[in-house]
Amino acid sequence: MATGEVVHVHAAPQGFIRKYIFSLDHKVIGLQYYFLALTAVFVGMFLSLLMRVHMIWPTAVLPLVGEIKPETYLSLLTMHGTIMVFFVLTTAPQGGFGNYFLPIQIGAPDMAFPVLNMLSFWTTFVAFVVLLAAFFVTGGAPLHGWTGYAPLSALTNAGPGQQLGADLWITSIAIFCIASLMGALNFITTTLDLRAKGMTMMRMPLTCWAWFITAILGLLAFGVLLSAGILLLLDRNLGTSFYVPLVVVNGQIMGHKGGSPLLWQHLFWFFGHPEVYIAILPGMGVASQLLSTFSRKPIFGYKAMVYAIMAIGFLGFMVWGHHMFMSGMSPYSAFAFSLMTMAIGVPSAIKTFNWLGTLHKGRIRFQTPMLYAIGFVSLFVSGGLSGPFLAQPVLDIPLHDTAFVVGHFHLIMGVAAIFGMFAGTYYWFPKMFGRMMNETWGRVHFFITLAGTYCIFMPMHYLGMAGQPRRYSQFTELAYLQHLIPLNTFITYAAILTIGAQFIFVINLFWSMFKGPKSSDNPWEATTLEWTTATPPPHDNFGGRTPVVNHGPYEYSVPGAPRDFVMQTDPASVRTH
């Protein structure tokens, strides 16, 4: 097209509000997302602590909530899941790091639509506030879990939290969908349109590829959840029967008829499974980036990595039914879903193999970011290996709704993704704040967190196989679970320890922000574009110039080169691999 493309770059803002609150700068918005997620993760963590303590000491009176009744427990569980999945795992890696570093890594002055970017953050913020409001309304927070299964979620008299709390929950999710859609289309357009000269798609860092594919997943998945949420709201408030069959609640026949709870599950998981990859793909990108940088080796099989991300994204849309083997879904579709789910192991294994190949014979620098990247791979493998068990209907039937599933998805989607975020934080902190984080405390934090999370989630696999169900608020009374109490107590102690260790991280984060040693522009001797610019980056990222890219993203230990790394912007005359 001969049309002159005009990219609008806003001038540097003046005044506190335009600079730090309603900022159009993707870097500020990225940090806003990051700190929103940091707040959310502590709320979510606190809820999980209450649940763990309640499981072992059911009669204990706890701060803020008092004695936990079964419905309180379900509220905690719902809010823990929702906050963690939506406002931490979706928000921090994509909205936070993606916003901050995608434009810089591809050499753009900002996102393609800065105003939309700002709106996307503030909409997310509103969604978070609406969700938290559910704690304070009559009846409290909803009981239906983060998956909001109908008919429980669709009936207003099915429990105390199912009144206004559930309406707020659905509203929050719908608002979050809109925010994510705005973010996703911004990410995709930026990647397609604003790459600096020479930054071809196949020269993009794997982080950018991960953010790009994640955005595509978000774009295609969140619209469906939006529809599902609208229908659920209608079922609750206008008396329609999309999800509710003829039901009797407390001896009273409800007015609904002919709906199908399976429809909600289908629509929800059509979004829900891609959502799992929305959470984990950015972590994979960060791990790839860091393993290469700190092994001082090119990433093993760059193209295979790119195609594996694409394949995971593609297959991620075809496997949602593996959450529904126990729901009464057609066994023929269960067969197809099982097959596709097993197939998704192939690109995942390719990625793992390539990560190990990158480490092999590398000159590894064991700094904190690298430790977290290796931790990510470890958790990804540990959590991933229980996937093939659950992918088969025959094995899923006994394991479904047991602690086995809890262990599986927390390892792979929860903790692995969080490790990706930690890795990103320790790695990019010098660029974001111009100072280094404390290395010693970083390592202490890493080893306690790694050991702690394994102590929490590995035993859950045994608990699940021994028959401990999930979502039960009290099991200490049940005879057949008596012998599992010691293991559960161990898990709770491990959880308390791990949560305690996170305060090391927060203190390190805020202390280093103001008191840490000043960092150079490229402290890790990395190659990608964010390390070519000033620290912290100027308003338009590159100080009025646009970088020209001559090399791929992972040119480490190039034979004959003056240094052991070749920056992407180094002159084309420098020979690379």
Partner: protein, 103 residues
């Protein structure tokens, strides 16, 4: 408004043609449905085929996708069509509800 040069000013004629064809296809649909020419399932198939032709005309001509580059055409259309086709899996369960006799 700024003047923006284009590489494909194809003239108005074709849009009137497309509009005419869309109206005719709509008329065909209405007549088929109102006269109940086919059994319901066959009717659904015929109407869907006609609707897909109509939407292809709208996307291709009115929305100019015909004149975009191949990458854009393929990526966008494959993504949305694939997702919509996948949702067809829902129906396996809708049919089961009848057979199981759930109210």
């Amino acid at each position: 408004m700024h003047h923006v040069a284009t590489t494909h000013d194809e003239g108005k004629g074709q849009y009137f043609w497309v509009w005419g064809v869309l109206l005719i296809l709509t008329a065909v649909e209405v007549v088929l449905a109102y006269r109940q020419v086919f059994q319901p399932v066959r009717m659904l198939e015929v109407l869907m085929v006609l609707s897909i032709i109509k939407s292809a005309l709208i996307i291709g001509y009115f929305m100019h996708l015909k004149y975009e580059i191949a990458a854009m055409k393929w990526v966008m259309m494959v993504a949305v069509v694939a997702c919509l086709c996948l949702m067809g899996i829902f129906f396996a369960d809708a049919f089961r509800i009848i057979h199981l006799g759930v109210q």
